[in-house]
Symmetry: C2
Amino acid sequence: MASGDESVTIVGASGALGFGLALRLARAGVEVVIGSREAERAEEAAQRAHTLVPNGRFSGLDNGAAAAANELVVLSVPFRNHSETLTNLKGSLRPGQLVLDATVPLAAAVAGKATRMLGVWQGSAAQQAQEMVPDGVSVVAGLHTVSAGLLGDLDHALHEDVLLCGDRRPDKARAAALIERIDGLRAVDAGRLEMARIVESLTALLISINVRYKTQAGFQVTGLPDALW
Amino acid sequence: MASGDESVTIVGASGALGFGLALRLARAGVEVVIGSREAERAEEAAQRAHTLVPNGRFSGLDNGAAAAANELVVLSVPFRNHSETLTNLKGSLRPGQLVLDATVPLAAAVAGKATRMLGVWQGSAAQQAQEMVPDGVSVVAGLHTVSAGLLGDLDHALHEDVLLCGDRRPDKARAAALIERIDGLRAVDAGRLEMARIVESLTALLISINVRYKTQAGFQVTGLPDALW
């Protein structure tokens, strides 16, 4: 377990994936700022998280204040709120920050099937994010294939990979270092940010597999060397 | 090792993936008919395969005769030949046959990057195949993520999953039974044939990962039950 000298903001941590991530990271010693559209909801989520991880450090702020609070900002919102959230964050994000975008444009966002994807003009949610953040803010895509349910179930031992896409290797390494604070998650460099259109679609694929096998599946990449970063 | 009471046709087995598949299946006791556009090339491939798997049963035929020879036909051709091959097979395929399509519409087919996909109007190569085969012929998509190099290297122990997409569960089970004749390959039901547009794109994703880690990666699905079929 690491020393806990790191902190992260999670925008959308009142949702299942963001909340599970907050729990796991806090348990690993990372200070977590939970962002929500309303500060009250964020504070509630922080309190709820604290009940589940009593030695965790949580705070809750509205999205703008939360996004300004840390160098690393995880974006974990439903796709239907993705563009609006990024518009609202424009005044809060600053050059040098890294946004780790976990958003998946499932067709469920427009009442379609969760096994189908929406076509995003930029190619993927993460590329939409990269287009919308202020200059100097980097976007890395990741965390799409980790089950929110398993992440939030602290008794469940994780054993799967997180595929990261981004245009700068140091950004991906930074995101990887955060993700690998969580026991059982390994971060894999999946290529440039444009590969996010494939990696994001893995969520739809997993949902299809989950329906068939009544499980919460994940992915592992075989054949990789021991040192990935 | 099974008794070898099964036989399969591989259209495009002079290519690396099809050839590796022929070797592995023949070693497991499956009789393999290799199809190629020219019977001579097919016979050459069959002889080459026989040298590598001396107790394997191989024969080489032109695509039409090869496709008619077995109930199960694996299609493993470059995407640029996919439509033409299926047009030429129309007179040879008959109701009740199953086509296991491993074709991936990589942008490399039109001199683009191998980490990028072409948009296929039907959604995927496999859906294009389903549209083009005669009525009563089923299409299952699979085998996109198995490295041709590793498949052809008989000394390499495989340990990865094959994701199958198709609209009828019995068809997928039939394809799974064939695939699982190969030691180290597990077949996973990934959903309806329309999911092939995601599964096919995993090849591009693996190529991107392979470039970064100088390896031949594959995928495994975590969290599945023991009995998949």
